[in-house]
């Protein structure tokens, strides 16, 4: 099955990296301008949530060395994933499980940073 961008909205931190980088890479405008972007981060009026709205088939989008489009590469939390439907479903379940046992995964996807903490680093302050 073909790959496309899947959104895990509970992990979106609203940083808009995907929105800005998409606009930058999509057209040869050399410009950061969200009106060229295929992604918008939407918020309600009181900003109680952030969610990426993606209008993209991935066709013709340049992929980086790891085979990801730039929006996925620049997403810091792992809220965007470039994969097929089957894998996306599996990831969704994995995330729900991990969130229950390790509160850190409220903030980031296990596939982005797979190490649960036992202790905070204490050296070098």
């Amino acid at each position: 099955m073909g790959k496309r961008v899947f959104v895990f909205k509970e992990l979106c931190n609203g940083c808009r990296n995907c929105e800005m980088w998409c606009s930058f890479s999509q057209r040869q405008q050399n410009e950061f301008n969200s009106s060229y972007s295929a992604i918008r981060i939407i918020r309600d009026i009181d900003e109680t949530f952030d969610e990426p709205m993606v209008n993209c088939t991935g066709e013709g989008c340049p992929l980086n060395e790891e085979g990801e489009p730039i929006c996925v590469e620049m997403c810091p939390t792992g809220a965007l994933v470039f994969t097929n439907l089957e894998d996306a479903c599996q990831k969704k379940i994995e995330l729900a499980e991990k969130r229950r046992v390790q509160p850190m995964f409220k903030l980031i996807a296990p596939w982005k940073y797979p190490y649960p903490w036992t202790e905070w680093p204490k050296e070098g302050v």
Binding site: C15, R16, L107
Partner: protein
């Protein structure tokens, strides 16, 4: 004209008295000499707000500044606000959020607010459409409501609003400007905004930011991203900061007696706020500012505890979590509540905290009594008293009226030796950094032009010398600089910190992104700057811009009457040890470090006035005449 990329090239001037709006070109000379943001704010302030201008007179100005990288992901939405503060020094602060980029997209690099309005107004900017609108019904509303009402009224859902709340309206000292909902910045600028009766600035833009060399820009950004990567970061602290920001230091600080506990009398606190608790119970998800490269530099939280009506929001810097030790707060809910109130009323957490902590010490030592506080038991560890006092400061009720003017002013009113407990520098409260434990902090705090401001020298320790790339020439001794309690090598280290951070704040970018080897390696930032604007600065020229900015700021406060005697730290740090941590007072060491710093800077050791040859070297010839007759 060779226009640099990245800029919009426009300054928006708003005269609140005549209700006139003017657009003017941004001089290219400024772009080259000061880059943008904090740097250009400085030159505007220096040229236009001289020593004859009173801080609360109509002639004072507020400048909102962006730089060439603003609006690109590397700008991280940093906006610098600057004005002349009530104590006549510079009030400058930066904030993240989406407001700065939006201003850039609307087509302006700078907004200069001039004169005073008779009635409350707000400024509406929608691309070319700029209006001063009536805000009488908004006056008195908190920043959340203001945000909501303006969004509804303009019909633009994602319009970005910078507003002030009750605290700034009541001219509480060090009030901030709140950008959108939870991004605060500009200690003291909110106070002046309140004085000018400017309730808010709402910005919406549809433009973009053009990059000169996109391939190189992307390459530089990827290099930075590699150093920030959580998996292969060379700095073991990156993951901690990336998920909990300053909160994660709480345990480490407590164990090593580095918390500012009980008005900085001690270094640790019983029942400190455990970051794990916070994560487990209150955090609901990540929330960061514009294009932050870290997953959870800020977090959404929700508090559903019986003491307070349910409230939620998002927090990032964790200033209050560490600051909670100051007043001995031991519950996350109270800590978050004060944070929430500060954002609503546009108060400065540090001002509120240090002032309440000062009040608490006075109360415990019998200098003030329950009669003075109108029945509030102002004791360390009394969570409710802290929350109540914050409300009272914002509305200047009861004892809040005295505390609202800042702790230094309050000590003048109260007297009876209460000034001994003050923790202020140049009339402004500290920022929960511990100067006794790390001497570089002591020096950096003392010589700061704007009073305590941690973004000007963060972080106050060099990376592990092993992390420093071998071919990197750094102008200080990394081994000496990293010794926490030695005076050696601190002058050149702190000078370098100030210069490099001045550049970072001017391009602009977030200084909290300088982690690991990036603490000393500026090359990726320089590459990104060159790729964005199309200029070809060398590293020396780049850092020189920072030195120029710092010298210009120093010249500004010299012209206002500040001298070496003002470059000091509170008496407590100089004379008293941290009892439980057995950390000795700083004493004479500070003097040695300041001598060293001035010498490295090329400033007069007795007065701190920059020497003529230094100013000439930095192309600041126009400053020489202003300083010529000052001693």
């Amino acid at each position: 004209m060779i226009m640099l990329f990245g800029y919009k090239g426009k300054i928006l001037r708003v005269d609140l008295a005549k209700k006139k709006i003017a657009k003017e070109d941004l001089p290219e000379e400024w772009m080259r000499k000061y880059i943008g943001c904090r740097g250009i704010n400085d030159i505007i302030l220096y040229n236009e707000v001289g020593p004859s201008v009173g801080p609360l007179s109509p002639e004072n100005k507020i400048i909102f500044g962006t730089g060439p990288l603003e609006g690109t992901p590397l700008g991280m939405g940093r906006i610098s606000i600057q004005t002349k503060y009530i104590n006549k020094s510079i009030a400058e602060g930066s904030s993240g959020g989406d407001w700065g980029p939006e201003l850039k997209y609307a087509g302006y690099d700078f907004v200069v607010i001039e004169k005073k309005s008779q009635m409350p107004v707000y400024l509406y900017i929608n691309d070319d459409d700029v209006e001063i609108r009536d805000a009488e019904d908004l006056w008195g509303k908190d920043t959340r409501e203001t945000n909501r009402i303006i969004r509804e009224r303009t019909g633009i859902g994602n319009i970005q609003v910078a507003s002030i709340g009750r605290g700034a309206e009541n001219l509480v000292a060090s009030s901030k400007v709140i950008f959108t909902l939870n991004h605060a910045g500009g200690r003291g600028c909110g106070t002046i905004m309140g004085d000018k009766k400017l309730k808010a600035i709402a910005v919406h833009g549809t433009g973009g930011v053009k990059i000169k060399d996109p391939a190189k820009f992307l390459q530089a950004y990827r290099e930075l991203r590699k150093r920030w990567d959580l998996k292969d970061a060379d700095d073991p602290l990156i993951p901690g900061f990336a998920f909990l920001s300053a909160n994660f230091l709480l345990q480490f600080f407590n164990e090593n007696c580095m918390l500012p506990a009980y008005n900085e009398q001690k270094g640790s606190i019983e029942g400190f706020l455990a970051p794990e608790d916070y994560l487990q119970k209150y955090v609901t998800g990540p929330k960061t500012g514009f294009c932050c490269p870290f997953p959870a530099c800020g977090r959404r939280y929700e508090v559903r505890e019986r003491e307070y009506a349910t409230f939620s929001g998002d927090e990032r810097e964790g200033g209050f979590s560490i600051g909670a030790a100051l007043v001995g707060v031991t519950s996350w809910s109270a800590s978050l509540k004060v944070r929430d109130l500060c954002n609503k009323y546009s108060l400065d957490e540090f001002q509120v905290l240090y002032t309440i902590a000062w009040g608490m010490e006075c109360y415990e030592k019998g200098i003030i009594t329950k009669d003075d506080t109108e029945g509030i038991e102002l004791k360390f560890g009394n969570n409710d008293a802290v929350v109540e006092m914050t409300e009272k400061i914002a509305s200047r009720e009861g004892f809040g009226e005295i505390l609202a003017n800042g702790s230094e002013e309050a000590a003048r009113v109260v007297g009876k030796g209460s000034e001994k407990f003050l923790l202020t520098i140049k009339g402004r409260e500290l920022e929960t950094m511990n100067p006794r434990a790390v001497y570089a902090i002591a020096l950096a705090l003392a010589v700061c032009e704007s009073g305590p401001d941690h973004t000007r020298w963060y972080p106050p320790y060099p990376p592990n010398p092993k992390m420093i790339p071998k071919d990197l020439a750094i102008p200080f001794d990394a081994v000496k600089a990293s010794l926490p309690r030695s005076v050696e090598g601190k002058g050149s280290f702190v000078k370098w910190l100030y210069d490099s951070r001045a550049v970072l704040e001017s391009i602009p970018t977030c200084v909290f992104a300088t982690r690991g080897s990036l603490k000393v390696d500026m090359k990726p930032w320089l590459d990104a700057y060159n790729a964005c604007t199309g200029s070809n600065y060398t590293m020396d020229e780049f850092i020189k811009v920072g030195e120029r900015i710092v010298n210009l700021e120093r010249a500004y406060i010299i012209r206002e009457g500040f001298r070496r005697a003002d470059d000091t730290i509170p008496r407590r740090m100089l004379e008293e040890p941290i009892i439980d941590g057995h950390i000795p007072p700083i004493g004479e060491n500070l003097k040695v470090m300041i001598d060293d710093y001035y010498t490295v800077r090329g400033w007069d050791v007795n007065t701190s006035i920059p020497k003529e040859e230094k100013l000439r070297e930095l192309d600041l010839d126009f400053v020489i005449d202003d300083l010529k007759y000052l001693r």
